[in-house]
């Protein structure tokens, strides 16, 4: 039996939040300049059913595989999946009405006001939801009268909350002069907490765990929790654990821009291997600021605004169980400070070196997962096809190393790559949306090795011009019998 830790369970989450698109960073700024944009946004939003039936979302939830997506004609939004289900093989799609319930349940500081009527609707919806718990319902209360909500919006800089275009509540700030506690910032943080917690609850169910079974959480979400004296102070992980009633766990955050999940999985796996923790959860909640980020491209092409969902991810890492896929800690690839920002060196550090360390050639690893941003979201804005551009670089590197010929570039990409299917939720697309698919294929004996690579853009924070990234190899558990092999 190997001594490397395993990914024992995983869960993926999508939350349909069309009425929050207005609060994504880009739409929020642009509607401030051009209020008419609200009308255009409203006429390009999708229904929950349309979002569920959208092929890339079905791949994200595990009801379709990446290779199925490659066979669906583009544009994918014009080819909905028939009889699509909101409950996926690997995850759940939560509608906005239910999410309002989870959001209120996550709120311990009376930040969210909902009208009494809407509170009743949300309460009924939440009662039936398989990921809600009785404590959620207790936190819903009876609601706030509409006049109080309107007063808060007009006089106290609260932000209006809508459902299906109708005013149903407001989101409060918590300090008049503290930029870190303004309504918009707190909304972003609370949405990360609520979606992260739903993903973790789903993970525990899928693993057959109770909340008491996990001992540590690492959040790799992209938000900054804190007040004016400690902006970004963090520990979203522990707040999420609290919402999941995980009495015997604590946690902390690991941040590294879009590469966060890979760092968090490597840190988590290392803590498990060292014996410090035994049942460790890595989680990422959704990112409000990314909603509607590419909206002008979508409006220009008169297509639906596809960035109308929050994403969520959760993974359970444990010591080797003889079955689950193994994180090869001896393979970890990293971008060193001295490696510079040259693409060739970045790719060598993140792709060639980790494989070489475990004796694998680039052209011999079964699959490579890179940042799986859905190209249908990015291309209309002129932002390119992120996964395809990265696969091309990897293939070019294989050519330069003499592993494949120039004519084999397309085949290399087709065999080892995959189309992007993740919503552009920052850290969420960071290679790990494929982890569930890889685990299933490994369990079935169809896949032996998969490399997970993600890059981060440190320069966005204006503290360094450096590139960044990390990678690791996931391997079929050697303890599995090969008899199953298809």
């Amino acid at each position: 039996m190997s001594t490397n830790p395993v990914v024992k369970a995983f869960a993926y989450l999508l939350v349909h939040t069309p009425d929050f698109v207005r609060y994504g960073s880009k739409p929020h700024r642009e509607t401030g300049i051009d209020p008419d944009l609200h009308r255009q946004i409203a006429s390009h939003l999708r229904s929950f059913e349309e979002a569920v039936a959208y092929p890339p979302n079905q791949v994200f939830l595990g009801n379709l595989h990446p290779e199925d997506l490659a066979a669906i004609p583009e544009p994918w939004w014009k080819h909905p999946v028939k009889q699509a289900k909101a409950n996926g093989a690997y995850g759940d799609f939560v509608d906005q009405e239910a999410f309002y319930g989870f959001l209120k349940a996550a709120d311990l500081f009376d930040l969210v006001y909902l009208t009494p009527k809407f509170t009743q609707i949300v309460s009924n919806r939440l009662k039936q939801h398989h990921l809600s718990i009785p404590q959620d319902l207790e936190k819903l209360g009876t609601g706030k009268e509409l006049d109080k909500i309107e007063h808060a919006i007009e006089e106290q800089a609260s932000l209006p909350l809508y459902h299906m275009g109708e005013l149903v509540g407001s989101f409060q700030r918590h300090h008049e002069e503290d930029a870190s506690l303004q309504a918009h910032v707190l909304m972003e943080n609370l949405m990360t907490k609520a979606s992260g917690a739903i993903a973790v609850r789903s993970l525990l169910r899928r693993a057959g765990y109770t909340p008491d079974d996990a001992d540590y959480l690492i959040s790799c979400s992209e938000e900054a929790v804190g007040d004016r004296y400690n902006r970004g102070g963090g520990n979203m992980a522990k707040a999420v654990g609290e919402m999941c009633q995980m009495r015997f766990a604590t946690g902390s955050d690991t941040k590294a821009f879009c590469a966060g999940p890979i760092y968090a999985l490597v840190h988590g796996a290392s803590l498990v291997k060292a014996g410090v923790f035994e049942n460790l959860v890595v989680l990422g909640g959704g990112c409000l600021s990314k909603l509607g980020m590419k909206l002008s491209g979508h409006l220009k092409h008169d297509m639906p605004i596809l960035e109308d969902v929050l994403g969520g991810i959760a993974f359970l890492i444990t010591p080797d169980d003889g079955q689950s896929p193994v994180i090869r800690l001896d393979s970890v690839g990293k971008h060193n400070i001295g490696d510079g920002s040259n693409q060739q060196d970045i790719m060598k550090s993140l792709v060639v070196n980790p494989l070489e360390r475990v004796g694998l050639a680039l052209s011999k690893v079964d699959k490579i997962s890179t940042e799986l941003h859905n190209p249908e979201i990015t291309v209309p804005q002129g932002s390119g096809n992120v996964p395809l551009n990265n696969y091309k670089l990897m293939a070019a590197l294989a050519v330069m190393r003499g592993e494949i010929s120039r004519d084999d570039i397309s085949r290399f990409i087709e065999e080892r790559g995959m189309p992007g299917f993740s919503p552009t939720q920052g850290h969420i697309p960071a290679a790990v949306p494929y982890l569930g698919h890889a685990a299933e294929a490994m369990e079935q004996g169809k896949l032996n090795t998969a490399l997970f690579v993600a890059k981060g853009s440190l320069f966005l924070g204006r503290m360094s011009q450096l590139s960044d990234g990390m990678s690791f190899l996931l391997e079929r558990n050697p303890g599995l019998s090969y008899e199953k092999k298809a």
């Binding site: 920002s341 940042e371 697309p429 853009s457 320069f459 011009q465 590139s467």
Partner: protein, 41 residues
């Protein structure tokens, strides 16, 4: 071609990043006055 010119390096994360453009153009004799890398996601 660089004489008397001020050069801006506007790179991209998944293409040629800003600092790599700066290094190459500086070696070519350019006066690079601003280096930026764009991230589209």
């Amino acid at each position: 071609m660089f004489e008397g010119k001020y050069v801006v390096a506007l790179g991209e994360r998944d293409g040629v990043p800003g600092p790599a453009i700066e290094e190459i153009l500086t070696a070519a004799g350019a006066n690079v006055i601003s280096t930026v890398t764009e991230c589209f996601v």
